[in-house]
Subunit: 470 residues, 2 copies
């Protein structure tokens, strides 16, 4: 079957029962339809209601994926790829039913090429698994979203995290992909060269396409050498504005910070108590520097001077691994710490990203909104990139609270767009932000639709996400 053949398939013949029967017969236990497993595969960690798939298929090879896609295409049944289920915008929901294709068993690290600083992995490998595997090689993979996500999922949502300011996002750190397309054929998007001008950038087209154009079956990733020295620390500031101005100057001076993270006063309060930190309840920057012994000292010194200029400090930093790790554990536990601010509440994360010159203004207006609306909503941010998350703590059984949260999110997204920013820096569009994508890119979305229709004419690849197909 090739792409053209898909157009021959009867568009009225939706055959979920047939597909369930075929998959059960063909794959036995590897295909499951129990309620709890289907619920687990539609778990969205958001306020978006779960929409269960009709069954879950545990793929073990790209041939499995190809076969499942062919079966589903024959009967016009949707496929929803599933990594670890840590996505935040309803990406794994099945609004039109269909088959959840669980990639977690495709978790082999296929090869590591130390000399080339790259590796090839299956999509179910998680970032922790990869970094543990790499531990003895002197290499690491820098992209670190909050969750221990699968690398296939991270590519699909164009994820990033705290290291992006230095090392880039999934966009910059994937050299090549394999993916099974809507006709069941597996393509290779690029070779292993570090750069290429060979044709359309199918790699980047698939990164961030959230499973709507193809199912990633292999990733070739750039790796980084573990730096000779790492230092890190925390610097308090009198205001969010002062902290943001220090960030701008740090970036502008070209100090190659590896991480520069904002934690606002309310979030610091939660972290101080949750992670037993010896800091004040004021806006803080968490920083990390990578380099030689000399260079990390130099970077920390330069940053300290900048902080002082904006009324911040003292900047306490350390090269001692344990102390540094305690700080970053606290930062990575920010979500759990925040939840303690309102026990029993659920946390809903926003994800705007603005040009850093507008960042202070954007965060301050957002803090004003939070206060005026009486929300409990701490803020953390990958501020070197202009990206920050508000974690709205709410009772998701209370319709009024959800409505208010949606109003708040709407205002925040519109503000970011007005400032030349985006509604999503790293979480993706999924179901939750489709209307903001249209506000953000206008008629650009028409061309995304044209691409989607060309590559997935039956609209079976994770339908109902990113863009609407009519």
């Amino acid at each position: 079957m090739a792409l053209a053949d898909l157009k021959q398939i009867d568009r009225n013949a939706i055959g979920i029962d047939t597909v369930v029967g075929i998959l059960r017969q063909r794959f036995g236990d590897r295909f499951q339809t129990g309620q709890s497993i289907r619920e687990q595969h539609a778990h969205t960690t958001t306020y978006i209601p779960s929409q269960l798939p009709d069954g879950v298929f545990f793929a073990e090879s790209s041939e499995d994926v190809s076969e499942a896609v062919r079966i589903c295409a024959d009967h016009r049944v949707p496929l929803i790829p599933f990594g670890v289920g840590s996505s935040l915008e309803g990406h794994v929901n099945a609004p039109a039913g269909g088959i959840s294709i669980d990639m977690s068993r495709m978790n082999k690290i296929v090869e590591v090429n130390s000399e080339d600083l790259d590796c090839t992995v299956e999509p179910g490998v998680t970032r922790d698994q990869l970094n543990q595997y790499l531990r003895d090689t002197g290499l690491f993979f820098p992209i670190d979203p909050g969750a221990n996500a699968s690398l296939g999922g991270m590519a699909s949502t164009r994820a990033s995290g705290t290291n992006a300011v230095r090392y880039g996002t999934m966009r910059e750190n994937v050299l090549a992909l394999k993916a099974v397309m809507a006709d069941g054929r597996e393509i290779t998007t690029a070779r292993r060269a570090r750069k290429s001008s060979a044709g359309y950038d199918l790699t980047r087209l698939l990164i961030g396409s959230e499973g709507t154009l193809g199912i990633i079956t292999s990733l070739t990733l750039r790796l980084q050498g573990i730096p000779q020295a790492i230092s890190g620390g925390v610097c308090p500031f009198p205001s969010v504005e002062a902290a943001c101005n220090a960030v701008i100057m740090t970036i502008q001076m070209g100090i190659p910070v590896a991480r520069i993270e904002l934690v606002n006063a309310l979030q610091m309060k939660a972290m101080i108590s949750y992670s037993d930190l010896d800091y004040e309840e004021s806006p803080c920057l968490f920083l990390e520097f990578h380099g030689s012994d000399e260079s990390v000292k130099e970077q920390a010194g330069l940053f300290g001077d900048i902080a002082e200029e904006f009324g911040g400090g003292p900047f306490r930093w350390t090269s001692v691994t344990e102390e540094r790790q305690k700080l970053w554990k606290a930062r990575h536990d920010a979500y759990w710490a925040a939840l303690t601010l309102r026990p029993g509440a659920k946390g809903i994360s926003t994800d705007v990203c603005v040009p850093i010159s507008r960042l202070a203004e954007c965060i301050m207006q957002t803090e004003t909104d939070i206060a005026e609306m009486g929300l409990i909503a701490p803020i953390v941010g990958h501020v070197g990139d202009g990206n920050f998350h508000v974690l709205i703590l709410l009772d998701t059984d209370d319709g009024g609270e959800i409505e208010q949260a949606e109003k708040f999110v709407d205002g925040l997204n519109r503000r970011a767009l007005e400032m030349g920013g985006t509604c999503t820096g790293e979480h993706g569009i999924g179901q939750g932000k489709m209307r903001y994508l249209e506000m953000e890119l206008g008629i650009g979305v028409d061309y995304m639709q044209a691409i989607k229709q060309a590559l997935d004419p039956l609209n079976i690849m994770n339908p109902g996400k990113v863009i609407t197909i009519t």
Copy 2:
């Protein structure tokens, strides 16, 4: 007119005469059909024969571009975007006739946002023009292909150059584009945020699409702070292999070299005489380090140790601006120096890029081929990325020589593909490498064709380049 409307246009109504008439009436002197101007716009700096457009339109605004595209779409006439004409694979040829759309008058620098380290420019701005404009801001744009190319052209071919090892290619340094699509509408591919997960990556899809999907009308580019200190130097090696091994170790140790360029013995011979350099005729690495005073010293020291380990050296380096500039002027004049090796000959450049672990082997086998075939063909390379160029000096009036050069290029491209590399690191596919693209990506090309057909159903956007549409 929208994308869907294009499908209503009579596919048999090719009306070049009508289009010529309309453009002349509408734009007067800004549309020209003289022989010499048409020849100049099909000048390809390759051995690919020139194929002249029917006329040349000098666009002055994105509205001009939209209007020209609409007129051409109505009559199914091809449009071929033209920057400065420095592309190397027949990109500006008009194999099916049509209108060359010269973007050089769209050369305004629209805005520079110093705090955000970005700027927005029209596509006809050249890289030298931009860097001269930026001179007083403390910022620079790092991508430097050999020619003083237009930034629109550089994006279209996914260009890079000597700084890519540190700063990336056009792929990593464009934040957003505007482009006029095949229906004449202008889209914005992204906002000005430094990262985004909002929908399909139309920015990266257009970068490297060589004018076949849309015509770039605006670019928002990332800028870099001019480093506090820059040092650079040249290090001779006993062999290409030793030089490549030093490169691998340098990259692996994470030394953040800004430039690391290989010049083989024959090319050094040419440069020593052309640029009056005081070096030996042996393989050399040209290096540059960016950072603080301390860090450039440290980097140079570390590299010197590595070079020694592989039998290279002495590594002579300097922080004196004039001396450094002389070296890099010599490196940038490599093409002109090479031409002196065979006066009267034309130079044809290859562009393979391989994983750096295979680089030494690839270059050595290539040097053996050159010797066995009796070619005069020096080599320079952006070896930190695994990319190198063989400049074949030949008499393009001699069919035998062209045939032999093609045989050599064929062998080299196949070798790079066998090694997991690409046929083009930075020049693009154009007309010259279409069959290698198919060898490189196999059925992946089918999906490129589907995208092309979806976004340009009349096949009027630079047809006959990158992929074949049947």
